[in-house]
Amino acid sequence: MQFSKTVARLITERRALMWATVIAIAAGCFATLVTRLRLDTEILDLLPRGFPSVEGLKVYNNEFEQTRELTFALLCQPEDIDKLEEFAPKFVERLHSQPWCVRVLAGSPLETPQGIADLQNIALPLLLNLDPDEFDRAISLLQPQRIQERLQQLRQAIESGSPRPEIELTLDPLGLIMPALKPFAGNAALESDQPLTSPDGTMRLFPVVTNQSSIGAFECQRLMKQVNAFRVSALQDWDGGKLEMLVTGRSAYVSEVSLSMRHDIYVTLLGSVALVGAVFFIGFRRWLPLLAMGFSLLLCCLIALAVGLLIFHQLNMVTVGFCAILVGLGVDFAILIYGRYQQARNEGATHAAAIADSVHHLGRAVFFGALTTAVGFLALVLSNSSGFIQLGVLIAIGISAAGVLMTTIFFLFIPTRTKPRQSDWIFSAVKTYVARMLHRPRSVLAISAPILIILVTIAVLPQIPLTFVANARSMEPKNSRAGRALSLIMEKMPVRWEPVLGIVRASNEQQLHDYWKAIAEHWEQLRKSGTIKSFSTPYALALSPQNIERNRHQLATIDFAASRTALQSALAQNRFSTAAFVSAFQFLDQLRVAAAQDYQIKPWRGELPQSSAWWFLIDRYFGHDPLLTAGFVTTNQPVSTQQQKNALARDLPVAGIPITLSGWSYTLTDLVPWSHRQLLFISALMAIFDASLLALLYRDLRLWLIQVVTLALAIAAMIASMKLLQVPLNLLNVLAFRLVLAIGVDYGIYVLLVWQRSTDIARDLAGVIKPVVLAGLTAIAGFGSLGWAHNPTLSGLGIACALGLFWSLGATIFFTLPAAVAAEPKLSDEGLGKPELQHEHV
């Protein structure tokens, strides 16, 4: 028995069995969703795998403590700068009192007594960590004569009003801590490039580390709820003009992205369902088929989600867009099938016969339509981006399910008795167009071809540019508060551009020290030659067991008693207050103890209290694993071009040291060639697949040529409209081109197959063009509804696809068909007036 007849029999005679099957499938999908649903909010999963810069970004985001950091900013009016300075300590106090706040950086740790005490606590291991030459030079200050000279000089500096002695004697009365921090000095450059107060004084930054236990979406939402509650009371007692509190950071972004996902799911799905439903209803004026289509599409979504979860175990946020796309695409099959079914019923066929007729005549078109679309979306597997791979696979599954469900269970909802429609203005308009087009195809081409040629010209004209956006902002949600905060901070503090990260993992402490020593020396040369602006590394903090052991032996040669006596004598001679030098005597004692043979040096991390502001600096450099570290390079200009990125990739690494270069700007610049490859190479692959399929399908050179030209014209028109409407391309919406190729080709297939094989051209063409137009409009509506998504990647993809499909549909109706008619005339002028054309489908 033919497949179409089997379907008809099952639908009409075995309804209970069919319903039971549907319920079983739905229940299985529900069970899978309930038990396995896990959402992945990692925005980095949208970026392709296999790029070291992307992997580096993931490592830095996941394995470094700074991901728990939020940046608060206060922005006041220019006349309130002094008030802001006065208000800042109150604000810091309020931040400190929040249960989610672990520590706040309100200024340089060196400006606070606690910060100085913390530094003095870790000075010993850092001093012992110095390279032998530097260490020997440093401890030469313990010679009695050097002690005397130094204090005499400081005394004179005090007399001349220099600020140096105050700073030096408070932080480092013995003169050994500063040399210990000397390798750290490079960091000062970075700190001055990353200031906490804007040059005009109207903005102050307060980095805060929170107590977030994880960086998952729900945890971030919970934290940001508390932060938003804090906003309400944080600015109490401010008596100046407008004061704005801004918050940014990873948690703020993740919270917004995950919340925008929910918005995107509702808005795009509801928008798509509403638009598609409206188009379907306008086309057919029937409620039950609309319900049948909705139910079938819902089941397709469920099946795709469930199978997707079984394959991927968790679904990325970008896949939320798949439902809206699936609705827009899957409805095509319903429209085609129902259009044919309605036509058969109008011509007097029974319910079962009409089902068999529609499946028989359009099953092949639906199969090829589903195949090309599924392959088009499966091609996203080549994108290497796990988010887009999931999107592609889910839609491929969904569209395949739609092909099956629309030719089977869709009919369960169709009533066995149906009244023919009295009037159908769409069909009438289509018939009029078909009649004219068959009669004078060149007159249609005379209008459509010039329009398309003008668009092709615009597409290739370099004077009208197609914007390509490759920055982090192109991936953050629209109207993002965290994004606005970051952009205001960047605006107020233009020197705060993002540094390039260099991530280094070592297998032991000594190797880590040696790696960073070599890198720091190399980067210092680059800085001196002007290749980079500044840099900072964890070199001073990466302990070298070899240096420590050697320097401890050297310490044993010092006569600490003589140094102590010399210090006492120099203090008395220069009339210094002994009380101001208590820490100097303590440090001398520590050094004496450290020189002992069995002395075990304490890990410096354990000596710093959790609330110490120095952690802000340390956490930048060290991951949770102390052997995983990062250094930072501030470039002379923000990284935005391939040339800059390539130069950095060439200059920054040191031979023999594995280093991963990363950072958002660096990574996105790194991905531009990938994106171009997606645009050109993979779209070309899709075009070759389409062209081969069409050749197989038509086996007619002229028809094949016409459709290939149509596809090229549609893509050119899409580019032209993106140029004219200033829709930018971004790293990810370049994928739209292959989707347009995959979907757009279907319209041509539907129309040209009928043109090629029909014996009643006018009747059959009119019968297929109406569903094709409706199907095109629903696909445009489905993709267009993504434009409402907050996620710009999703909305950009939707808008680009909607534009492309609009031109594919238009080119199919107004170019492909008249061109085919003009190339292979099948109907004589007399044939146009035949009676069957007058009454069919009415």
Partner: protein, 211 residues
């Protein structure tokens, strides 16, 4: 204050009088922006057991250029052109170099240090009160700006009838106190080279606050 101790009666000035006085000082500075004078200074520093006495000469040009030369056993030269600050120690052939006007803590320090000489922006930066002690006027300045408050608790400026600053008394939050008396005021034009400094060859230069 010093005059009060000597038995001269102090009469507080009304705020209108203070305002008028500051206006007169502004006018005076507009016509005679240059100043050179001898000074004697006594500093009580918490790091030292005893006060330090020093003397020398100061040159000043509004709004922010100055030069201070300390003579005696521990000589030094401090020069600022408003952008850079140099402190040179001839005895040690060493110099310290600081960059100003980058919102560094040093800026506030220099503002406080030169307030007594420049007498500019006093109302903006300080809460100003005044007393008349004989034919002298004593202004008491309390910083409004937090950055200044961190460095300066109070500043007293004593002016003679010609509105010459004859004494300043600076009290710092850490307890340090600097009392400076000025004599032999001269408002003659000053050569630009006075506020320039080129370290002599062989000078060891340090930048204690970085670039």
């Amino acid at each position: 204050m010093a005059l009060t101790v000597m038995g001269v009666r102090a009469e507080p000035l009304s705020s209108a009088d203070v305002k008028s006085l500051l206006g007169r000082i502004r006018d005076r500075r507009a016509t005679t922006p240059n100043l050179q004078a001898d000074f004697q200074e006594e500093r009580k520093v918490h790091l030292l057991d005893e006060p330090i006495a020093s003397s020398g000469k100061v040159w000043f040009e509004a709004p922010n250029k100055f030069r201070r030369e300390i003579k005696g056993n521990a000589p030094s030269i401090t020069v600022s052109d408003g952008q850079q600050l140099w402190i040179y120690y001839p005895k040690f052939k060493s110099a310290e170099h600081y960059s100003l006007a980058k919102r560094s803590p040093l800026d506030a320090g220099i503002t406080a240090l030169t307030a007594g000489l420049s007498l500019q922006n006093l109302e903006a930066n300080y809460r100003v009160t005044g007393t008349k002690e004989g034919d002298h006027i004593v202004l008491e300045l309390q910083p409004r700006v937090p950055s200044l408050r961190r460095l300066l608790q109070r500043l007293e400026i004593t002016l003679d009838p010609n509105l010459h600053v004859i004494r300043t008394n600076m009290l710092q939050p850490n307890g340090d106190q600097i009392v400076t008396t000025y004599t032999n005021h001269d408002h003659a034009l000053l050569a630009a080279s006075i506020f320039e400094f080129n370290p002599p060859p062989g000078t060891q230069i340090t930048t204690p606050l970085g670039k």
